[in-house]
């Protein structure tokens, strides 16, 4: 088909985006768990039949970057001919193109005129999928089999009917099957909405034009991305960062990047990275790919339609068996939440050498994963929750960093204290900004938060997976780093907070599983601040005064970091 006019192409592109947004709204309104309806830890996508993403919206970058691999695997493993109207496939296998075990993709084929036209999909973090730790974040796992129920692409709906055997396997292996039932139906419901929207589009434009529009949008995005990359100076840019420990050993694990910008392409060579860790901080290949894509998208034009086309000029080189490409059966649950933002920050730092005016300093780089579960004291029913907290984002050449934002890989929201207290036996004693946690600079890093929770039931079993508690989110171009985070516990009767290693003897102070807290014990979650940008000496007196007035920095820090005296 000849070139479609730009107006029609824009209308179809926006229709695809809107369909994804509508899916997201349905998910938010109908799901059971706070991780969906408050945290928005999901992504909605539309694919063509060649496993190329043609539509998405403002969801989780890690899922959006990796979805094309999960869909490709699904189509190749099952075969295009195996799909029928009304089918829904589920898939969470990190060794088949998924990010990590909790991320479940449901995928539905869309037929029109008797022919398969496209797929609509939803990837979401199911909060409990079994395994060795309630909440399925096994911070001391040493293999994928400890991380929960692993599902290759299998149908859970066939021609609109439940595939009951598969549902029984899933619900039997999850600790909170009622929640999984509700959340999976929210996901499937969102697919049905998108299917309706695709039928409307196909009815209006016809299958041939619909398919051609998808192809032309992909090519358009690729051309635009190539032209954006051409504006980045050619060169080889290096950076490295580490996970401070892996939950099993107390050793750092380094990821090292050589980023090559050559004309209209970027090559991200990660081959100098450390061997894969014993614990679950390993990234799957698709996580590393998604982190790389995300960083490049941050420094290029935000109006590029984000689809598989804009990823084409970005190529990766990794070695299987390293922290950036875990080899089976290594664990990887933390690779998606913790290692991903580190990887994204590393790419961003490398790019800051080429396009300093577009880059950001390092952000908190941790989701502050705090998992808990047990028998609810009021109902007796088993509950679990995957709680995450935001931290400070890095400052840029134009702005201070945002405070208490979920890391760049998630684009999620914090769960309100009221929701947490209503559903679970925790009382929120404090939820505040951490004064002085943002890195000083011409533009200041965003602030981290402090959240103090008290157990108000007989006991709660908790697990955690946090990083950047001994390392710091770096600043750029003379700015200071953000404050490190932390996770502390105060047992009933104790006079002060201590680390979990001090109290329970865990190898890692912030990566552990299955610690039983008792009534009136308290936990403090400290999220890191973001790095600053530019010399603190260039920050204006007015900005410093405003920071002090708002309590974002202390008067003492105004003096020591900025040399400011009222």
């Amino acid at each position: 088909m000849e070139n479609i006019d730009s107006v029609t192409l824009s209308v179809i592109n926006n229709a695809l985006i809107n369909a994804c947004r509508e899916m997201g709204t349905a998910m938010m309104r109908t799901s059971y768990s706070p991780i969906f309806n408050e945290g928005l830890d999901f992504s909605c996508v539309i694919f063509n039949t060649r496993a190329e993403m043609i539509g998405q919206a403002e969801f989780c970058p890690t899922m959006l970057g990796s979805a094309q691999y999960a869909v490709k695997w699904t189509i190749e493993e099952l075969g295009l001919d195996s799909f029928e109207p009304g089918d829904v496939v589920i898939h969470n296998d990190p060794y088949r193109g998924q990010c990590h075990m909790p991320e479940h993709m449901v995928l539905k084929p869309v037929f029109h005129g008797g022919e398969l036209q496209c797929f609509v999909g939803n990837i979401a973090h199911i909060g409990e999928i079994g395994g060795m730790a309630p909440g399925s974040f096994a911070s001391d796992a040493t293999e994928v089999y400890q991380e929960g129920l692993r599902l290759p692409p299998v149908k859970i709906m066939q021609r609109g009917e439940y595939v009951k055997d598969v549902w029984r396997i899933i619900l039997t292996n999850h600790r909170t099957p009622k929640t999984s039932w509700g959340d999976l139906h929210a996901m499937i419901g969102s697919l049905n909405i998108a299917e309706t929207r695709m039928h409307e589009l196909l009815e209006r434009y016809g299958a041939e034009l619909f398919a051609a529009a998808g192809d032309q949008l992909l090519d358009y995005s690729e051309r635009w991305m190539r032209s954006e990359i051409q504006e980045i100076p050619n060169g080889v840019y290096r950076f490295q960062d580490c996970m401070e420990d892996d939950g099993v050993t107390d050793q750092p694990v380094w990821m090292r990047l050589k980023l090559i910008v050559k004309d209209d392409e970027i090559i991200a060579d990660w081959t100098d990275s450390d061997a894969q860790a014993s614990g679950p901080v390993n990234a799957t290949f698709v996580v590393t790919a998604a982190a790389t894509y995300s960083a490049v998208l941050h420094v290029t034009n935000k109006d590029i339609p984000v689809n598989s086309g804009c990823y084409r000029p970005i190529r990766l080189i990794t070695n299987p068996g390293t922290v950036v490409n875990v080899r089976h059966p290594g664990p990887s649950v933390g690779g998606n939440t913790e290692t991903h933002p580190h990887l994204q920050n590393v790419v961003m730092a490398a790019l800051s050498q080429a396009v300093p005016e577009r880059a950001a300093a390092a952000e908190a780089g941790t989701a502050c994963n705090f998992l808990f579960g047990g028998a609810h004291p009021e109902t007796g029913e088993y509950y679990t929750n995957y709680h995450f907290d935001g931290g400070g984002w890095g400052a840029t050449a134009l702005h201070d960093g945002n405070s208490v934002m979920c890391p760049v890989n998630g684009n999620c929201r914090n769960t309100p204290a009221e929701v947490l207290e209503t559903k679970y036996p925790f009382l929120t004693l404090e939820y505040s900004l951490r004064t002085d946690s943002g890195g000083d600079g011409k533009f200041r890093g965003g602030l981290g938060s402090k959240r103090v929770l008290r157990v108000v039931g007989p006991e709660i079993t908790v697990s955690a997976l946090l990083d950047r508690t001994r390392t710091y989110p770096w600043g750029l171009f003379g700015a200071g780093h953000g404050a490190a985070g932390g996770l502390l516990v105060k047992k009933k009767g104790d006079s002060r907070f201590r680390t979990f290693s001090e109290v329970y003897g865990t190898v890692s102070a912030t990566k552990f599983t299955r610690i039983v807290l008792k009534e009136d014990d308290e936990v403090a979650i400290l999220s890191p601040g973001g790095g600053g940008y530019g010399s603190p000496s260039e920050r204006t007196a007015e900005q410093i005064e405003d920071d002090v007035r708002q309590g974002l920095i202390s008067a003492a820090a105004a003096r020591t970091s900025y040399g400011y005296e009222r």
Binding site: Y69, K72, W73, E76, E77, Y95, R96, G97, N234, G235, V236, K258, I260, V261, K262, I267, D269, T271, F285, R315, L316, I317, T318, N319, P320, N325, R327, H328
Partner: protein
């Protein structure tokens, strides 16, 4: 010049094949090519090109970029 190969794996086969260049686990079909006398498996022809242009350069260095 390489060619496409179908893994033709049995449905119960859980073995994994990795691309020699990018490191991706390959779902089904792969691109097989002989490079300096060694048969290598790639996920797509573009990865063979990247392998030749980048990974074969000593130490992966390509400072001429």
């Amino acid at each position: 010049m390489g060619h496409w190969i179908d893994k033709n794996a049995a449905w119960y086969d859980q073995s994994m094949t990795y691309c020699a260049c990018c490191g991706l686990v390959i779902p089904s079909g792969y691109w097989e090519a002989e490079v300096r006398g060694e048969v290598l498996i790639f996920c797509k022809p573009d990865c063979e090109r990247l392998y030749l242009e980048h990974r074969l350069v000593e130490g992966g260095e390509n400072e001429t970029a």
